[in-house]
């Protein structure tokens, strides 16, 4: 949008429109640059720690971390990124952009290898194939007893996250569809109750939930945590799914049923494909939430064969932090990677999730 500022001509002589437009354009780009600089500045405290974690995991050895590696790497990467973003905003042709990008990438990689290449190593990732890593570092038995292999924790996390996601998808889509399509008695009351539950903080119920799990014998089992996690987020997901179902026109369902499909077929073959974006969004979100859960698993899971990744990382950090930063950082990177990848690749689905809408 080209902005032209209209100013009252001061003199009866014709104003120099071009000069005015140029000045406004200049002011505009200066303003944009200032905004960008602000965004860059406030984002540094977020990006830098993640990068620091990666660098620790790749360079630290038992006993210490050297900090100059971080700044050397930054000194190479930051100019490269800056140059590329300037090129990206100035050069319109995608081909040229790609070429410059690759060129810069090559230069940056060469520089990195030349400057800090000999410092990088994957020793810290040895927890992936060695089990007693913590005991080795501390050279004694640890407080929590034997550390399980990281793969057990990984598998538990995966089981927990996947089964939780499946429950949420099934239940939320059925409920969402039902609420969206059917008039049943008490529908309004149910919706309002659901809404209150959605706003209600489940964290406050952690003590009674603990007691209920204890009484029904699901304490210290993955299944118990799975049910609890699925439930406390359920109202939110029901609303999200209802929103998606509301957006599906009734006509296509009606025509499917006119053509002889049963209600169930119409739901499965016609309506569900229409809300696939919603299903994916809910699934990804639910998976990430379960993957990162800490408080509930910390409280409800005790034995180390039931550890999930967050507990594994917590106890590793608890035991060797200060002695060996590298291992802790490596476990963190390993743990954060799945949710990060999901987040990056499914972002366009996640942004389509809205709930209800706020009075506006």
């Amino acid at each position: 949008m080209a902005t032209v500022t209209f100013e009252k001509p001061l003199s009866p002589a014709r104003p120099d429109w071009q000069a005015l437009a140029a000045r406004a354009g200049l002011r505009r780009s200066a303003g944009q640059a200032a905004l960008l600089a602000f965004l860059l500045l406030v984002s540094v405290p977020i990006i830098l720690p993640y990068f620091w974690m990666l660098m620790i995991s790749l360079t630290a050895r038992t006993g210490g971390v050297s900090t100059d590696v971080l700044w050397t790497a930054c000194a190479v990467i930051v100019p490269a990124v800056l140059i590329y973003s300037i090129v990206h905003s100035l050069v319109p042709s995608p081909r040229l952009r790609l070429v410059t990008g690759l060129l810069l990438l090559a230069i940056a990689c060469t520089l990195l290898v030349a400057l800090i290449g000999d410092r990088l190593h994957f020793d810290n990732y040895r927890f992936l194939w060695r089990t007693n890593i913590v005991e080795e570092i501390r050279s004694k038995a640890t407080a929590g007893g034997q550390f399980p292999s990281v793969w057990i924790a990984f598998r538990n996390s995966l089981v927990l996250a996947v089964s939780q996601t499946v429950i949420i998808i099934t239940v939320a889509s059925l409920a969402g569809y039902y609420i969206s399509r059917f008039a049943f008695r008490g529908r309004e009351a149910f919706l309002q109750g659901l809404l209150v539950l959605h706003a209600f903080p489940a964290m406050t119920l952690i003590i009674p939930i603990f007691l209920i799990l204890y009484w029904v014998g699901l304490l210290d089992t993955i299944a118990g945590v799975m049910l609890v996690l699925a439930t406390i987020e359920l109202p939110f997901y029901v609303f999200v799914m209802k929103g998606f179902f509301d957006a599906v026109p009734w006509d296509i369902e009606m025509s499917a049923m006119t053509d002889g499909a049963t209600r169930r077929q119409a739901f499965r073959l016609v309506v569900l494909p229409q809300v696939s974006v919603g299903l994916i969004a809910v699934a990804v979100f639910a998976f990430i939430r379960a993957w990162e859960e800490y408080i509930f698993v910390r409280t409800f899971l005790i034995e180390n064969k039931n550890w999930v990744m967050s507990l594994y990382l917590f106890w590793v950090a608890d035991d060797v932090m200060g002695v060996d930063y590298g291992i802790v950082a490596a476990v963190s990177v390993f743990y954060v990677l799945p949710s990060l990848l999901l987040y990056v690749f499914c972002q366009k689905y996640l942004t389509q999730m809205t709930i209800g809408g706020i009075k506006g």
């Binding site: 905003s89 406050t204 003590i207 609303f239």
Partner: protein
Amino acid sequence: MGPTAILLFLFFLAPVAVDLGVAFTDMGRTLAVSSFTFENFERMATRDTRLLGALGITAVFVITTLCIFNVTFALLLALVTTSVQRQVGAFFRAVWLLPRMSPSVVYALLWLWVVDPNERGLLNQVVVHVFGLPPLDLRNNHPLLLVILANGFIGASLGMIIFTSAIRSIPEHLFHAARADGAGSLAIVRHIVLPALRWPISYMTIHQTLSLLVTFEYILLITAGGPFYDTTVFALFAYRRAFENGQYAYGAALSLVLVIVGVVAALALWRLMDMKQLLQSPRIEVH
């Protein structure tokens, strides 16, 4: 429909009832109930001296985090990211969502590495080498500041998302009209954007107050409520009483207070939601 109702009943309504019941018992470390008593509430009201401190810390924590990050800074981010190029704005919003998407244990570890009291901490590298100051030890000397920062960096992102979509839904022609009338960028923000954000802002304020009141995950991970009780907010106080000291009944009584606060706030939020859209009548009037 059935499964939803069952799950919600089991893990939402039943816990409230259980909490209500257990709060009036003397359940201790053995999880056995021997008698019913009002002692927990009496203790809360008169004898627990630490409780008052926890309440004060909670107030400081919630109000500061809310005012600086979850509303103000979120608004700022939403305004700035919507006034730069679309892709650039989306990129920076993604960056700010990163902490919310990464596991809480990892996020807490990042903060521990940042504020590491020796010279290797990320913050201290800057403080010592750039400014030439002695190394800081935030975790022991300014623990409350630390937990406020850690929660704020996460809290800002939700407000940012909500405000961004609210700004996007303002009709474009209003901006053009204002420009044609000679309004500057700040005047547009003041007279067009902010009035349009009135409801989202009040919604976010209540919502975030509530979630800050009950949250203690990052505090538990970063400072564990310490040193001593210096960062133990009310919710964490209840948690520690129950799971560290084994006073389950007292913890239940404490969280009953939070449950009541939660219900009240949830009802308030409910007034702010767009009920007409949520309750729009179903598409099919059959059973």
